[in-house]
């Protein structure tokens, strides 16, 4: 039986855009963190 997805109320366009923008900024910070950790772990 298919899993039932919870119904999510649509957000206002501004809020939705803000969330999308926030996720992109978070993604950039996550990439920085990943690169810093990689540099620390693998750096000579």
């Amino acid at each position: 039986m298919a899993r039932k997805r919870p119904d999510i109320k649509p957000a206002s366009p501004a809020a939705a855009f803000a969330l999308m923008l926030l996720s992109i900024v978070s993604f950039i910070i996550a990439l920085w963190t990943l690169m810093a950790l990689t540099r620390i772990l693998l750096g000579g």
Binding site: I8, P10, A11, S12, P13, A15, A16, F17, L19, M20, L21, S23, I24, V25, F27, I28, A30, L31, W32, L34, M35, A36, T38, R39, I40, L42, G43, G44
Partner: protein, 507 residues
Amino acid sequence: MWQRFTLYDLRVVGHYLGTLILFFAVLMLVPFGTALVFQEWEPAARYLVSIGIAIIIGAGLRFLRIEPGRLSRRQALTVTGFAWVVLGLIASIPLFFSGHYATYLDAVFDGVSGLTTTGASVIVDLDHLSYADNMFRFAMHMLGGLGLIVVALSFGLFGRGGGASLFSSEGRSEHVVPNVVQTTQFIARITLIIVSVATVIIMGLCLLLGMEPARAFLNALWVSTSGFVTGGFAPMQLSIMYYHSFPLECILMVLMLLGSVSFVLYAEVWKGNVAAFFRDLETKTMVLWLVVMAFVFTATLASWPLFSDMLAILRRGLFTIISVSTTTGFQVITTNQITTAFSNGAFLTLAFIMAVGGSSGSTSGGIKFSRMGIIFKSIVANVKEALAPDSARVVVSYSHLGRRTLTPNIVKEAMTVFILYVITYVVGALVGIAHGGEAIPAIFESVAMTSNGGITTSLAQPGMPATLELFYILQMWAGRLEFVTLLALIVEVGASLVPRVKPRLNP
């Protein structure tokens, strides 16, 4: 059997190309106006003459009167295919006479590069280019980024003739809203909003950096436009390095990533359905791909003495990854550093990132995340089928504007375009090597041209060999049209040129 062009087909194609050229003449009013405002009289005269030439050619072609009716798919493919080069040729007129190009072909190269949002430039002494010429370069980016046909349709230039055929022939098959004209208007509106907001923020930064207001505004407008449409032209020779501003680089990273998101997803977010963005196959593929490639890139540089500084990797490294991934081509490291301070591994990693590019339905080039995601899903489906019992029916689905089931046709289409990209990357690299280039820069440059990434290293230089330059122009053109339109055009032209064989009559 291949269909030949009839005289009527040629009249239809000429008529629509004439419309586009006239529209391009209107676009050239923007640099003309800029020249008048800043009292640059020589560029003003140059653009006035170019507008006149474009009007004569465009109006002449418009006289090829046609019956009002629907534009066939074949005619639409031809109009779209030719439009990018015809407008590139028109654009080269004011560019060449600016005196900033070593050869006429260099000006054509920059015209096609601007329109296809490749961003590779062979201009000489960019730092002393007039405001009008710079405005024209970024206007071309804006027009090409949105899509020549998209912009023309949003202005209703083609009437009710062949909107749908033209729209899909430009590599856009997904409609944001059911109506083509409304779709194109939505794309233009979103771009305008994001570029305007970015311009205001970047202008503030430029003012803080000490620029005078007019210059700050122009730089902000140009960099915002180039960043969002993932073009890559910059107003200064040093690209983004010129500004020496970390906050500006951060804003541009966000802007480039926004530019690599599909407009279809913007429409969903606009409706408030932000979950569609997070669930989408392209978003998931992008996250996975960039995480893996950021790790590989850092790992290759971590033990490399010339570029292993932590801050350099974090600041310059991530910006470069995002710039090549979105196929923008902004640089915060010099071309010399890419070829000498970077390890070969890092150099090649950037080429791989650029080869894949951004999302379909966005302004990015490259193979696209959607195709990579579909190919990955197809591998998953094959593994599932191998492991499943004989009686089981394996169904693999993915999220892209709702739940979709993976079908052999979808996989075939993705694989075809993927293979065409790879073949073009390889052939372009071989052409570069044949012109005396080193293997890795030749691969990098070939990928940069086909994916419309635009970062050049050592081969694409002012006054480069004409054969190499022509091939790079072809690569930019093919990459922007995602091959199918161009291949169809080549086949049709080829079939029309082959003489007809008269049937033999038995005696």
